[in-house]
Symmetry: C2
């Protein structure tokens, strides 16, 4: 592994290319890494037979990057297009863009240290530069993989050359500005490379917020959100990212698309809805116009306990169908609730820790609910947040609580919801530590109609458990509902098992295949918000049908005639 890294010297080649902050074999930065607490260690040891010395460790010294297949003339051409400082062939820049952040990716750093890397990293800063780059790539038969935050968990960043001779990673980080705000219409235009935290920071200066908080929030970019149909934890209040996007710019090999549709239109099929979720296969997203809203005046919290998942799901359904207006509403199933209770503050599976610990300290919200004393007797935990003006948050809170209590919910006060909010971006960091300690841990997700929720959940749990047990390990399969719609909801699964055998990658691949097949067979979508990438591509044809595949391929051919745009992703 090369030790050379970019410096701040603007005269040096590649110094304009930002170094991705996340560690190679981790979700987060080195600074975020933390030890497992004793309760989690106990769970791993006692339930899953996992001990710290049973997992394969990452050895940075073993890592080698594939040599760049681009020659000096190629690099000179790229330098002509975007400037010397914005082209890098250093290993230190190519390696972090070689893999995403799925568990298979993180295991691959441990088990497959010979890394297929993109052959160069290029950081353009204008639509014209992107267009020129795509043009060059088309003529030279070089594939293009867009890179935003690098948080794909579905193989969306795989540097797959397809039939081409090399791969260039196109970093969007220099599309980094808030270009405009329209306070009247409630819209803002951002460069595609702006990250979640940066977008919130830029908007906050004007009193606005985007309200998009997926688990990838600390690192992912707005362009990435758009291209993968991300959905954040506040989707009940502010919608999915694809609902927030009012317009977007995509530079394709045949020209720029400005899909800047009116607030609504009957002018034919919705072009914007074919760019959203296109995962870089039609071109490079450089700009998004998104809906914004005033920074909420208040946030109110309340957690509820339901006796079982079916009762809780019916309650969430009633809330959404009646439109009582929570900003966040989530429900953990019995297993996730139990595991979170057992593992205390560093909860596995994204749920709130300390259910049953919340009593009166709820800051005035939720304090007329239950005492929380029955919270530790099991059941299912639901988390609610309410945002907006004080008046709106209060009325949404009261209306939601009334529906949840009418449907069998018991208030646990505000604390479990605050605890969830506090730790809500922490699960992927915990995954790093679990992997280091010999656990096999991953998440997957789907969505379906309300009438099919329990059937689908059961099928996926059985598929995962059966597959992992066949590999010689017990498995904890946790599930929660994290996004609700009038007609259905998402299901988010967190799996913890023991790494078994010489190749835990193969072990997980079998479990993932079983889950994906169960999802397809039981009416779920192959992905609710993680996107397709390379990992779900084998299942897309079954979901959209032969004619759907034909439509996708037709558009692909029309806008990317040389097939250089992210050929390893999405399109079957």
């Amino acid at each position: 592994m090369s030790d050379s890294v970019s410096s701040d010297n603007p005269d040096l080649p590649g110094t304009g290319v930002p170094l991705p902050p996340m560690s190679l074999a981790r979700w987060g930065t080195e600074a975020e890494a933390k030890e497992l607490n004793e309760s989690i260690r106990g769970l791993l040891r006692n339930v899953l037979g996992v001990t710290a010395d049973s997992g394969v460790q990452f050895d940075p010294a073993a890592v080698t990057a594939s040599p760049s297949r681009l020659d000096d003339d190629d690099i000179a051409a790229l330098v002509t297009l975007v400037g010397s400082q914005n082209v890098s062939v250093e290993d230190a820049q190519r390696l972090p863009r070689a893999r995403g952040k799925s568990t298979p990716d993180l295991l691959a750093w441990r088990l497959r240290p010979e890394v297929d890397c993109p052959d160069a990293v290029v950081a353009p800063a204008s639509d014209d530069e992107v267009a020129a780059l795509l043009d060059w790539c088309g003529r030279e038969s070089v594939a293009v993989v867009p890179f935003g935050g690098g948080t794909s968990v579905v193989g969306g960043l795989n540097p797959e050359a397809g039939r081409h001779r090399a791969v260039v990673s196109v970093d969007l980080a220099r599309f980094d500005s808030l270009e405009s705000i329209d306070a009247v219409s409630g819209e803002a235009v951002f460069g595609a490379g702006v990250t979640g935290p940066r977008a919130e920071e830029l908007l906050a200066e004007h009193g606005y917020s985007l309200g998009h908080f997926p688990q990838s929030f600390p690192y992912a970019s707005l362009g990435g959100y758009a291209m993968t149909r991300s959905s954040g934890q506040s989707s009940a209040g502010y919608g999915r990212f694809d609902e927030m996007v009012r317009g977007l710019t995509v530079v394709t090999p045949v020209g720029v698309i400005e899909a800047s549709r009116a607030p609504a239109s009957a002018a034919g099929p919705d072009l914007r809805q074919w760019l959203l979720g296109s995962e870089g296969t039609f071109g490079v997203c450089t700009r998004v116009r998104v809906r914004i809203h005033p920074v909420p005046e208040v946030v109110r919290h309340e957690a509820f306990r339901f006796p079982d998942f079916a009762t809780g799901a019916a309650a969430l359904r009633a809330v959404e169908q009646q439109g009582t207006g929570p900003t966040v509403i989530r429900l953990s199933d019995e297993t996730e609730t139990m595991v979170n209770l057992a593992t205390a503050t560093d909860s596995i599976g994204e749920g709130a820790a300390a259910m049953g610990e919340g009593t009166g300290d709820d800051g005035g919200s939720g304090d007329d609910g239950g005492s929380g004393n029955d919270g530790d007797s099991g059941g299912c935990l639901a988390i609610c947040l309410f945002e907006g003006t004080a008046e709106h948050a209060e009325s949404a809170h009261a209306a939601t609580r009334a529906v949840l209590e009418a449907h069998g919910g018991t208030s646990l006060g505000a604390e479990p919801a605050r605890s969830w909010e506090h730790g809500r971006f922490g699960a992927p960091v915990l995954r790093d530590s679990l992997l280091d300690n010999g656990a096999l841990v991953e998440t997957l997700e789907t969505a379906t109609d309300w009438a099919n929720i329990e059937r689908l959940r059961d099928a996926v749990v059985v598929a995962l458990t059966t597959s992992l047990e066949a590999s010689g390990t017990p498995a904890l399969v946790m599930c929660h509902i994290s996004h609700v719609y009038p007609t259905g909801a998402s299901l988010y699964f967190t799996v913890v098992a023991g790494q078994r055998g010489a190749d835990p990658l193969a072990q997980w691949a079998a479990a993932k295949r079983a889950a994906s097949e169960a999802i397809g067979a039981h009416g779920g979508t192959i992905t609710h918000h993680h996107a397709v990438g390379a990992d779900h591509r084998p299942y897309l044809a079954a979901e959209i049908g032969e004619v759907g595949v034909r439509m996708l391929r037709a558009v692909k051919t029309a806008v990317d005639p040389h097939g250089v745009c992210n050929p390893g992703t999405l399109i079957p």
Copy 2:
């Protein structure tokens, strides 16, 4: 014109093909036709110089249908596919499917009595029959125009053969059932030929409603709503039709698409959003799965007066951005408000009559608002309806009223809103009478961001007025906001002028062109809910761009390789 019509005798050819209920040269049935009241006659005479004898009249005896270009072998083939009773070449069946219901269509019946008709009408009843029909048409080079309610106002039904030798109108009326209801998920599956009233009737038996009430409601079909991205008057409460559609079936020449997406998904571009609005150019929609909701327990009404359009628009914007939850919210501009006051019960331009007449008789809703006594002093009228449970309607009503009053609105009580609701499907029927009396009357619509609303409205008003004045007539150009979104709103224009010269078709074509160019130049969409058809097709490329057109054409070629599907429509 042939006098032969279908009978109920099942042995006769064509008897299974339903006869469209609307009169040839009218929007509605003969029974709906009504005389103009004296106040409207006065307005026409005094303001526009229009008298009853200045308009060209429809003469049914002058109508001749183009002879069918299909020969006996063709008819025999069609009969083999769908049965003798479901194929008709009678003039009485072909004529009503020759034109839609735009003002140019209605004038054409008067001015162009030699009618290009589809060469046959076929009424299949299954996906397999539609597929077989498309297959035959592809092999035999015969174009296919789907027919639902026949209410297109954009030339979407034009029997354009393109490069083909004939045109078949495919009537969807036999896809006439409510196939299933999922009460848990809040969804229902309907055949595409079910009309709005029939859908409500079928759902009401189970306690549900769709809540889609466009002006075409009495006649249009659910398949038509989906294929044209219809939006109903209750869109603030229940969404546009494209938001209600959870899944749909489209039979294309290369196979059936079941775009039955989960409530939300990240599985790539949204196929459903490319079928919605495709206007029969990719195939024939045979089935829709739509969101339903319980029949509202109560409906509350309140109207408001604003001093001017800008103030009223800002108030509607505040309501929508704050999400106070009206089911219907509309705002007429000063001209529309004034005209509606002047024309009393049969209001032109869809606005409520009798503004200022509403006082205390509001059935308990809105009675703590203003007295209504200042309502007749001009300004702009806003109409609000609130539906749902008694509690929801009351709280939405109170919250909306508070915002409207805080933004300069004065309550006029319930009556003007009730009056609007009572007459809300009447404007197209009134248009029939106005055309008969020598007026040139038509509507057109667009949408834009809130920040651009006034600029766009002004530009369209100027364009229409200027064009019509150049043709020698004053023009009344009225406008209202009828659909609101967080980031913008629709603008709906009603134009009344005098028919001038020998060819009022050319007179209107010039005005329409001026309006369409103004919309394009000032940031509006070429259509918010009327669709593209033949009439807006010249403007689509400017709206979606060269790459957008390339994408549309690519999909068209992929699913309709022979180009038989509605070749006169949509795709530039």
